[in-house]
Symmetry: C2
Subunit: 443 residues, 2 copies
C-alpha cells in the first residue's frame, strides 16, 4: 500500500457528493432567482488578493484565521475570508463604472483557518446582498423585504426578523454618559441570547458601572408579547424622545404595513451585532419552526464601506444568508427533498449496439425538457435489464423506458415502448414516446 | 493620499462586473441545464488540498505553476490547478458511495501561477464532465453527444468535433517500430495545427528518424474533403488492418448516424492531445463560424483515473469546455446579449415615503415572474422622476412604471398607472397592473 497516496481532505474542508451538491445548488438557485426578481445583479471577485487589501492596516483576530502566504512572485497574498472586504475594494476600484444605488449579490466561497471543531468549516459559501449608495429608508426596507421574501420563498417557513437601530442605542448610551464605551457595551449586549441577562449584566457592570448596566438591561429587555410600536415608544423615550433614528424605524414600520409583511418583524433592542461598522439598522433572522439553529440571515447599515481605499464616502445596507445553517434546518425538517439525480427517467440500454437508438429516443424526452439518462453497463457487469433497473433505482430515478428488440429496425415512432415504474415494479406496455411523456408529466 | 490603500488586483486575476458576471452565469446556467438533461450530476471539492494529493510524487512543469504554501498548522497545501486530479482523489475516496457508471460535472475555479501575459488568467473557471466506470462505446458516444448538443444549445453555432483514437495511432507506431517514443511523438504531432506539417516533420525526424517521420505525417494527414469512413479505412490499413480500436470508431460512427448528428464529426488523425493519460478516443472541437479561436471543448478516454490513490482501476471518458474562449467567441459574434440587469421593468419611486407602496406594486409583477426593480434615489440627489428614468436606463432597463400621486390613498387596484418606454420615451397612461403585464409579456 506504500505505493498509494491516501485520498483524504484537509480538516475543516468538505467534498460535496451529488446529493449534497444538488441540495446546495437547488437552494442557491432559488435564492438567486429571488434576488434577481428585485433587480439585484451578481458580481464576482478573485479568491486571492493582496494581503494588504484584505487585512488593511490592522488585523487582530481576523489575521490569525487568514490563509496568507507569499506567491511565486514573492507577493504577500491571502485567500478572502469574507465577501464584504472584497466588495469594499471593488466599489472603490470600479466606482466610475457603477450606477448608484448599486444593488448586488455575491455568492462565493471564503476561507478561514479557524478551529474546525463544532461543525465549523474552513471553507464555506457566503451569500451576501447589499444596496450601496443610498442612506435612505427605502434601501433599508428593500433589504428587509428581500430577506423576508427570499427566505419565505425557499421554504424556510415562518420567520421573525429581529430589528434594532444602532443609532438609537447610541443615543441612549450618550444619555447614560457611557458612549465612550459603546463598542465594548455592544459586544456585551450581543451575548445576551447566549449567556443570559444576569451574566450580561455582570459584564456590563464591569464595563460601565452598576447603574449604567441596569439601565442598559432595561433598554434591551423586551416583554414577550410587546409589539413593535410599544417597544419603539419605550426605547425612543429612553433615548431622549423622537429623533431621526426613531423616525426611521417608524417609517420602516409603515412600509412593512404597506406591503403586508409586518408580522415578520420584531423590534428587539437586544440586537446589536458585534461588528463595529454598523451605524443604522441591524437585524438577525430566526425561524419560527427551528429557533434553536440561531440567526440564518443577518446584517445592517454601514456608513462608509470603502473608506480604506477611497476618500469617497459610500454607505450602504446589506445582509448575509447563512447557507450551511439554512440547508441543515431545511433538511432536518424535510423541506429540502434529497435528490441524487436530476433525471427521474432512464432509458434502459442492455445491448451496447443500441446506444445510438437509445440516445435518439432519450432526445425526444429531453427536447420536451424532461431530463433522461441512458443507462450504460458498468465495466465487468453484463448489460441485463434487471441490473440496469437496480442501477437506475440506486441513482434515485423513478421510471425506466425499455425499447423492444425489434425497434432497431422499426425506428422510434411506433408504440412498442414499455414504461417501468421502478418503485411499484409495474410495467405499462405498448406505449408511444408521447404516451410516456403523458404518463410522466400527468398531462 | 498616503492614508488610503490603493484598490488593485493581483496580476492575472479579474473582477467580474455585473455585465460580465451575468454573461458568464447565463452561459454556465445553460451548460448546466444541458448536462442535467442527460442525467449528469454536480459535485464539488475543496479549493485547497494537501500538496501531496494534487501533485502526486512527480510534479514537473505543473509544480512551478501551483499556488503552494504552508497553512497555519504547517501543513503543505496547494490550491487546485485543475478539476481532474481532485476528481481522481474524490472517486478513490468515495468509491463505495458512488453508483457506477458515474456521470458527473464540476464547474469551478482553478488557479495557476503561470505567466499572465497573452490573455492568460491565473484564476479561471473550468467546466468538466466525465463518465467513469465504463470502458464501453456507449460512454464514449454519450460524452461526444453531450459536447455536441450542449454547444449547439448554447448558441455556439455549427461545430466540428475532430476525433481520433490513441490506440489506433499507437498500433501504427508499433508497426513502424517507434512505439517506445510514442509520448514524444504524440507531443510533436499535437503541434501540427500550430507549427505546420513541415516543421512537425523535422521534429519527428529528430525523434524517430526520417522514414518514420514521413510515415507518421502520412498517417496524420487528412484530405480536405476526405470523409469519416474514408479516413477510417486508410488509417485502419496503416495500423495493420481491422482491430478493436477501429471497430470502436466504426461503432461510434453508427451511433452518430442513429442520432442524426454525423455531420458534426470529423475523423482527424492529427488530433493526439498532448497529455499522457489518454488511451482511447481523443477529441477537440472547433466552431465553424470562429475556427481561429481554437478548440472550445476537448478531452478523451483514460484507462486509470485514480491509480495514484487506489489499487482499483477505474477508467472513464470526459471533456472540458473552455468557458473563457466560448464567452469571447459568443460575445464577438453578438450571440451573447450583453445585459447589465435581470430586470427590464422599474417602478419609479421619487417620494421616499412611497417606498412601501412601490414595493407592493412591484410584488404584483414579481409574483408573475417578472423581475422588477424599485428605484431608490442615490445620496445627494433629489428623487425626481427624470433622474430615476436616467438611472433605470443606465442600469439597462427598458420600462418604468409610475404611480400617480393619489395612489397612496387609492390602493394599487385602480387604473392609474403610467408605463414609460425608456427607449422611445413614450408614455402609456391609465393602466392597471394587468395592463402593464400584458404590455411587457405581449400576452
Amino acid at each position: 500500500m506504500a505505493d498509494f497516496i491516501e485520498p483524504r481532505l484537509l480538516k475543516g474542508f468538505r467534498d460535496f457528493l451529488p446529493a449534497a451538491e444538488i441540495a446546495r445548488r437547488s437552494l442557491v438557485e432559488r435564492i438567486e432567482a429571488s434576488f434577481r426578481l428585485y433587480g439585484f445583479v451578481p458580481i464576482d471577485t478573485p479568491a486571492l488578493e493582496y494581503t494588504e487589501i484584505l487585512l488593511g492596516k490592522g488585523g487582530g483576530e481576523t489575521e490569525k484565521q487568514v490563509y496568507r502566504f507569499r506567491d511565486n512572485g514573492e507577493r504577500d497574498v491571502a485567500l478572502r475570508y469574507d465577501l464584504t472586504v472584497p466588495f469594499a475594494r471593488f466599489v472603490a476600484q470600479h466606482r466610475g463604472e457603477l450606477v448608484l444605488p448599486f444593488k448586488r449579490y455575491h455568492i462565493a466561497k471564503v476561507w478561514r483557518g479557524e478551529n474546525a471543531q463544532r461543525g465549523r468549516y474552513r471553507e464555506f459559501t457566503q451569500c451576501d446582498f447589499d444596496i450601496v449608495g443610498s442612506g435612505g429608508a427605502a434601501a433599508d426596507f428593500e433589504i428587509l423585504l428581500v430577506m423576508r421574501n427570499t427566505l419565505r420563498d425557499i421554504g424556510a417557513g415562518e420567520l421573525r426578523i429581529h430589528l434594532n437601530h444602532r443609532g438609537l442605542f447610541n443615543r441612549f448610551l450618550e444619555r447614560l454618559g457611557v458612549q465612550d464605551k459603546s463598542v465594548e457595551i455592544l459586544r456585551a449586549v450581543d451575548k445576551i441570547a447566549k449567556i443570559g441577562a444576569e451574566e450580561t449584566g455582570r459584564l456590563l457592570a464591569g464595563i460601565a458601572g452598576e447603574a449604567a448596566a441596569a439601565g442598559i438591561l432595561e433598554f434591551t429587555a423586551r416583554g414577550r408579547d410587546e409589539d413593535f410600536e410599544k417597544v419603539l415608544g419605550r426605547i425612543t423615550e429612553l433615548a431622549g424622545g423622537e429623533n431621526p433614528d426613531s423616525g426611521r424605524l417608524r417609517l420602516l414600520r409603515r412600509f412593512m404595513a404597506d406591503t403586508g409583511i409586518a408580522e415578520s418583524f420584531v423590534l428587539d433592542p437586544s440586537i446589536t451585532r458585534g461588528l463595529d461598522y454598523y451605524t443604522g439598522i441591524v437585524y438577525e433572522t430566526f425561524l419560527v419552526e427551528d429557533p434553536s439553529i440561531g440567526s440564518v440571515c443577518s446584517g445592517g447599515r454601514y456608513d462608509n464601506l470603502a473608506g480604506l481605499y477611497s476618500r469617497e464616502c459610500i454607505g450602504g445596507v446589506g445582509s448575509s444568508i447563512g447557507l450551511d445553517r439554512l440547508i441543515a434546518s431545511l433538511e432536518n425538517r424535510g423541506k429540502l427533498q434529497p435528490r441524487t439525480s436530476y433525471a427521474e427517467l432512464a432509458v434502459a440500454c442492455a445491448e451496447e449496439g443500441e446506444a445510438g437508438r437509445c440516445q435518439a429516443l432519450a432526445a425526444l424526452f429531453r427536447k420536451r425538457g424532461i431530463p433522461c439518462e441512458v443507462l450504460i453497463a458498468p465495466d465487468g457487469s453484463p448489460g441485463d435489464l434487471t441490473r440496469q433497473f437496480i442501477q437506475a433505482e440506486k441513482k434515485g430515478m423513478r421510471w425506466a423506458v425499455i425499447l423492444p428488440g425489434g425497434l432497431a429496425e422499426g425506428g422510434l415512432g411506433g408504440n412498442g415502448l414499455t414504461l417501468r415504474d421502478l418503485r411499484s415494479r409495474q410495467n405499462r406496455e405498448g406505449l408511444t414516446p408521447e404516451d410516456v411523456i403523458r404518463a410522466l408529466t400527468g398531462a
